[in-house]
Amino acid sequence: QSTLVIAEHNNGKLTPITLNTVTAATKVGGEISCLVAGSQCAKVAEEVSKIAGVKKVLLADNDAFKGFLPEAITPLVLATHKRFNFTHIMAGATAFGKSVIPRVAAKLDVSSISEIIGVKDANTFIRTIYAGSAVQTLISEDKVKLITVRGTAFEAAAMGGSAEVGQAPAEGVSNDKSSFLGQELSKSDRPELTSAKCVISGGRGMKNGENFQLLYKLADKIGAAVGASRAAVDAGFVPNDMQIGQTGKIVAPDLYVAVGISGAIQHLAGMKDSKVIVAINKDPEAPIFQVADYGIVQDLFQAVPEMTELVGKN
């Protein structure tokens, strides 16, 4: 058994989901190597070398990896696999991991396994289908298993390791099929949604984008991230990257506060693994109350400012 974990990062810092992916790899068993591909990313390789459980770090520092395009990363992963012959290749189930893993899988003529939430043994994995409405256990019969990992389903690996850093076989990597033109990332001082300990989300009940300020105020007081239901995104209140649910992000924080969200199946799929769920909605029949640990049947425009006021007091 040996697993290659493809690290995700921005050339300066490691993306936390890589740590959850390493934990999933640990559950498979065997030696874990980590591939760090990017441009000017030696710092990340050093960070990765300190993850407990990682035996080897393979660094590929090349301008061809600018933008982390799958057309450039795929040949690198294939060359690395050819040299080391892994039994498993894994990445986090993010935009990056989802774009690379299936591409590599098809090149190796294997089926890939998306967004696992559990590892039963080296060949048997658990994942959800129909937006979390059913849980599927499957056995992969392929010689190499190509897997993306749902970050919220695995603990983050601890730091404290000391892996050796070597070079990945990156010679001859080039990409003339695609180019990276730029990105527009939402800037925020709040924690990132998928790794936040506490998430506050707004739905159609927020009525407009400006009213999300109410949630931001509460969020800043308790160090929470802010999300939204698809209804709020569709209505144009907030951008799509805030969307939680089947077609958006999956979160599982310690505390999830759903504000003005009715609780469509599509939304529940994205948050029902949260430890404690609070629902604030003026409709006592809203389905969100069926999954909430604590429900407040009240107008959110009163309840949220009141909560913001009270959380600061002892």
């Binding site: 933008g67 395009l69 799958p70 795929t74 935009a95 990056f96 989802k98 774009s99 690379v100 893993i101 299936p102 591409r103 098809a106 090149k107 003529d109 294997v110 089926s111 890939s112 998306s114 959800t128 289908i129 129909y130 937006a131 979390g132 409405s133 059913a134 599927q136 499957l138 992969s140 019969e141 392929d142 099929k177 695609s178 180019s179 033109l181 990105q183 527009e184 990332l185 939402s186 990132e192 506490c198 308790i222 569709d234 799509n240 077609t247 310690d254 029902k272 404690v276 769920i277 609070v278 109350f289 999954v291 640990d293 604590y294 407040i296 049947v297 009240q298 009141e306 909560m307 009270l310």
Partner: protein, 257 residues
């Protein structure tokens, strides 16, 4: 240059509004007598292809669906929305249920080559298996570039510029044609098929094929062990006021910062 030849994948799935029920034998979900529709992301793909045609950027839109005979209804819908013709790759239900995205990608890549396609538009994922693989795999098999989760597509000379939905916001890439693009929710709002167009679609050509016609083996690589209900959450308590809520949350150490 002449217009693009566009291939669009249309998967038939359980309608998004249907409540999913696990089968008593725990090997799948109940599909008998359940309303099916076109995968919503594929509807967006068809819409985008038809818009490219309306802008004279595409010359022909071909819809394809792999699966049991009922997929033909899905293809009629695609043609009623504006696809020019369609290809049904017929696969019996028992075999189809064991297929994975790799098999579909192999079929799509062969169909794309046979039909000299310049652009393949697919939904980013199907809402049944939630795999999000077919587009990337098809691109890999053809050795074409891929742009996943598109929220805007713009054709330039020999390239397309795609704005993609990524975790922290948006990303813009340029990919050379031929290419595979997968669609995300904000790309467009699919039209409803009008009655005259539904009638017209009945006369549009539909090719019927089998996987063997494309030399693609569809032997399963994965075995489903079980399909079960997710753990359920018990409804908790309704509290009378926000004060009680804050007290409870503080007691549990959930409002620490």
């Amino acid at each position: 240059m002449s217009g693009l030849r566009v291939l669009v994948g249309c998967k038939r799935v359980i309608d998004y509004a249907v409540k999913i029920r696990v089968r008593p034998d725990k090997m799948g979900v109940v599909t008998d007598g359940v309303k099916h529709s076109m995968n919503p992301f594929d509807e967006i793909a068809i819409e985008e292809a038809v818009r490219l045609k309306e802008k004279k950027l595409a010359s022909e839109v071909i819809a394809v669906s792999c699966g049991p005979p009922q997929c033909q209804e899905t293809l009629r819908t695609a043609m009623a929305m504006g696809a020019d013709k369609s290809i049904h790759v017929e696969i019996d239900l028992a075999t189809y249920e064991k297929m994975s995205p790799l098999h579909v990608a192999k079929l799509l890549s062969k169909i794309a080559q046979d039909n000299k396609v310049d652009l393949i538009l697919l939904g980013k994922q199907a809402i049944d298996g939630d795999c999000n693989q077919t587009g990337q795999m098809t691109a890999a098999l053809l050795d074409w570039p891929q742009a996943t989760c598109a929220s805007s597509i713009e054709k330039t000379n020999g390239d397309i510029k795609v704005v993609k939905e990524v975790d922290g916001g948006l990303e813009t890439v340029k990919v050379k044609l031929p290419a595979v693009v997968t669609t995300d929710l904000r790309l467009n709002e699919p039209r409803y098929a009008t009655l005259p167009n539904i009638m017209k679609a009945k006369k549009k050509p539909m090719e019927k094929k089998k996987p063997v016609d494309y030399g693609v083996d569809i032997d399963p690589r994965q075995k489903v062990v079980s399909v079960e209900d997710p753990p359920t959450r018990e409804a908790g308590q309704k509290l009378d006021n926000v004060q009680d809520l804050v007290t409870k949350l503080k007691e549990q150490g959930l409002l620490t910062s």
